[in-house]
Symmetry: C2
Subunit: 103 residues, 2 copies
């Protein structure tokens, strides 16, 4: 039950659904990518990414000073059904300006 509620709780937030949708479309992204794509301060994004990671949706890969987040694969059937539903939502993210200083 705890795992279920943690999973559900993670996607019970507008911001996190947007972030999941974005990562699903984009593949692997770093925090600054999201920070630039959404107009949100970094601490806010970092918090939401942690919640999505702890809930079993995302994994992190740290390379250099960057942390790259992506959807865990393969993913279990239940989370997959949630991701599928999120992907079907019409979400227009005002994909903004520049990326981060990745070289």
């Amino acid at each position: 039950m705890d795992v279920f509620l943690k999973t559900i709780g993670a996607v019970n937030d507008y911001t996190r659904v947007e972030i999941l949708h974005y990562i699903n479309q984009s593949g692997e992204v770093c925090v600054c990518d999201i920070e630039n794509s959404f107009s949100m301060i970094q601490s806010r994004i970092s918090r939401h990414l942690k919640i999505l990671k702890d809930a079993g949706f995302l994994k992190v890969d740290r390379r250099g000073r960057w942390a790259f987040y992506s959807v865990i694969e393969p993913i279990d059937e239940f989370r997959a059904s949630i991701l599928k539903e999120i992907n079907s939502l019409e979400i227009n993210i005002s994909l903004q300006k520049k990326g981060c200083n990745l070289e």
Copy 2:
């Protein structure tokens, strides 16, 4: 997005997951059934049933002075996947005492 969050929000609560699980196992139940099965005051149960109904999981059928709640059928794929997951949870409801005064 609003519909998605309403659906998710409805199952983001321990009590409502228990109630959904119970109705799934029992079929059609009236409010007093739940009231007796769980040890909760009636206003609390009534509120949760309304949330589950508004989120598209339950339907009500009023007969006489009773309101019978049951899972909507057929149900869409996404909600079905949530119900499936809830049914797979180990939930022990201390199915208590008497039923209500149904004759």
